[in-house]
Symmetry: C2
Subunit: 126 residues, 2 copies
């Protein structure tokens, strides 16, 4: 016999069965895991970071965003759709223009915490 096997999975050696059992119980629901991953993935792109950073300062229309970022209107619009889908930004129409702004305050805090971690990581980077 070469290996121990966990109860209901593929062949993996288990070293601390109690730990594994305990962790399987406190596992997050799939929906929560997916949701969390989606939020973070949405923020995990330079263009979207830049957009979010601007919208933290003020609401902006699509055209101005594209100009300020030196990118095409189409690219920005696609990104805004993604941010909108995951409720990170909301929009209002004013005539021909559509203005975007942050959807809620948690995003602000997410940003701040991200920056704090960045600093922390830089310390250790030396």
């Amino acid at each position: 016999m070469k290996n121990q096997f966990s109860d209901d999975s593929c062949a993996v050696t288990v070293i601390h069965p109690e730990v594994v059992a305990e962790m399987k119980q406190v596992q997050l629901p799939d929906q929560t895991v997916t949701g969390l991953a989606e939020i973070f993935k949405t923020l995990g792109d330079p263009t979207r970071i830049r957009i979010m950073h601007f919208l933290r300062k003020r609401e902006m229309c699509v055209c101005d965003l594209a100009a300020a970022l030196d990118m095409s209107q189409s690219a920005i619009s696609h990104q805004l759709r993604i941010l909108r889908n995951f409720r990170l930004v909301k929009n209002r129409r004013d005539g021909k223009q559509v203005f975007y702004s942050l959807d809620d305050d948690h995003v602000h805090t997410l940003f701040a915490q991200g920056l704090e971690h960045l600093e922390h990581a830089s310390w250790n980077n030396g």
Copy 2:
């Protein structure tokens, strides 16, 4: 003349030149943008979310992580390397085993804020 053009970019209509100018000044440094995006991208994967959630509870060795997640040791190891590269987890060796834990507290808060946003988004979802 069909369009206005921004000073130093490709052809994009500018609607509020003052806003665009102001935003260009408060732009984040490229390094910061990249760093932030990398942190969030790193958290933007279901497997890594699950790993981080476990490590929030206790330190764990690679084998147990693989067993608890019903995934191959190789897959987990690859993911741990990514988390390690971006200083989200740290590791210590104890004999043949390597134990992983969260690197700092900001990650905890990042998680919490992500979850809060999840709830917020669920309200609006109806």
